[in-house]
């Protein structure tokens, strides 16, 4: 088998595994939320309720795929696909192990940041094309939230980049051989985590959707498969942010010898996915202006300071 075919197979395998994980997360989230609320969660369909996912899929496939008459049809159809595509594209740069990855871009982190900016379009266009005031409100909030949180999410990563001396994800992981970046870059980690939750618009930063205020925000008008895409996109987003945290701060595939590297990667990623779900179970949603002032008044200065101090220290020791 030549290089090219193998590479295509690996990329395809990653795609399949990711989509399976994203779908499985629907079940995991429901189970975990239930456990944290002293319930059991879905446990009837198949062993431990695992086939619940399939039942949900069948349900979503057979739902009427309805486009409201007042919507802007083309944009309405493109928006959900855009979300999933941008997130899947970001996964291209994630090194699961040195062998299992799609591309080894030397601008890895930049590529991720670019893709996550594009992801904001999905929310905005989805809300805009629905032609519904609640959707539009959700989209406006989404635009403001994602743009402002992206700023310092990028900033907080620069500390890591300075320490590793490269934007390439593989290099960053290898630079963590001696010490995971979580220790020197703790502030960066906290800021990236908060920004990541906001990027994935998960609770507590789900003011884009905010069921209690905006019905479902930007995807109020979506149904059937298109809603399913938004739904899967959300879980892919969680997986992406978790995978990136693992790669950038927790040494990616590095671990102790007795397990294969890819296993270490998955283990760490799942730990963070669970933290995401725990956040949803425990924390209330902040007000919109609180979110904004937290971002611009606290997190942005903090990330700049982190960048400054990291840069100074690295320069001093050179």
């Amino acid at each position: 088998m030549n290089e090219g075919v193998l590479h295509t197979l690996v990329a395809f395998g990653i795609l399949v595994v990711l989509l399976t994980i994203a779908a499985g997360l629907i079940w995991l989230e429901r189970r975990l939320l239930a456990l944290w609320q002293d319930r059991y969660g879905p446990n009837r369909v198949g062993p431990f309720g695992l086939f619940q996912v399939m039942a949900d899929m069948i349900k979503i496939f057979f739902k009427e795929d309805w486009i409201p008459g007042f919507a802007d049809k083309k944009v309405f159809v493109i928006a959900p696909a855009m979300l999933v595509i941008t997130i899947l594209m970001s996964f291209a740069i994630v090194p699961f192990t040195p062998e299992i990855m799609v591309v080894d871009l030397n601008i890895g982190i930049l590529f991720f940041l670019a893709m996550s900016s594009l992801g904001a379009y999905s929310v905005v266009l989805g809300g805009w094309s629905s032609n519904n005031k609640y959707s539009l409100l959700g989209a406006i909030r989404g635009a403001a939230q994602m743009i402002s949180y992206e700023v310092f999410m990028g900033m907080s990563l620069m500390g890591v980049v300075i320490m590793a001396g490269s934007l390439n994800m593989t290099d960053i992981v290898i630079a963590q051989k001696k010490m995971w970046f979580i220790i020197p870059q703790f502030i960066g980690f906290v800021i990236f985590f908060i920004g990541g939750v906001a990027e994935a618009h998960r609770l507590p930063f789900d003011i884009v959707e905010a069921e209690s205020e905006l019905i479902a925000g930007y995807h109020s008008e979506y149904s059937g498969l298109k809603f399913g895409l938004f739904f899967v996109g959300e879980y892919l987003g969680i997986t992406l942010i978790s995978a990136l945290i693992t790669t950038l701060f927790f040494g990616g595939w590095l671990g102790f010898g007795f397990l294969p590297p890819v296993f270490w990667f998955l283990l760490k990623t799942f730990a963070f996915i669970m933290v995401f779900i725990l956040l949803r179970a425990a924390l209330p949603r902040p007000r919109y202006d609180q979110l904004m002032s937290l971002g611009w008044k606290i997190l942005l200065p903090l990330s700049l300071l982190n960048l400054l101090v990291t840069g100074a220290i690295v320069l001093y020791f050179q």
Partner: protein
């Protein structure tokens, strides 16, 4: 900030708590005796129907789901010719039980009445009428009431005085 971390931790600890869920079909909860569930029509201690067809339950029902027709037997005792409750409309409020003067209609602790066909939720008298006295034992309306309908003679009821002969002088 710290209160947020604290609530995260507390919520996490709920992982190890006892579950609140009752896994229903395998495990059943104990329903209290006065739980308002399926409606039954009961009989008195002499195994006669308690219902006297007074329509009070049908009048009290807020959703108008009781329908009945009163008739009389050879002694003049009233009973319902048909008695129909549409459980797809019943809200299990218990007003019918409160309105009933004879303890005939009663709500019992049973809720497992699901049906595939909505029409099957319309219960007729033979579905409603049970063999026993339900929640109130030993009560017989005709033993208390004054009129002779073949249950007791005049003046023989419980807590009833002998009839006074109005033509006699002596008390």
């Amino acid at each position: 900030m710290f209160s947020n971390l604290r609530s995260l931790w507390i919520v996490f600890l709920h992982l190890f708590r006892k579950r609140e869920t009752v896994e229903y079909p395998e495990e059943k909860t104990e329903l209290p005796a006065r739980w308002r569930g399926r409606i039954v029509l009961t009989r008195d201690p002499d195994y006669e129907e308690r219902c006297v067809g007074c329509y009070l339950c049908a009048a009290a029902c807020p959703v108008d789901c009781i329908s009945l027709q009163a008739t009389e037997d050879e002694n003049g005792r009233r009973y319902p010719e048909f008695f129909r409750i549409n459980f797809s409309r019943c809200i299990f409020c218990g007003y019918c039980e409160e309105a009933c003067p004879t303890y005939a209609i009663q709500l019992i602790p049973d809720f497992e009445m699901a049906e595939y066909d909505r029409q099957n939720l319309v219960y007729e008298k033979e579905d409603l009428l049970i063999e026993g006295q339900g929640k109130y034992h030993g009560y017989n309306f005709y033993k208390e009431a004054g009129v002779d309908f073949g249950v007791k003679k005049k003046g023989e009821g419980e807590n009833e005085n002998k009839p006074v002969d109005v033509r006699k002088l002596m008390p």
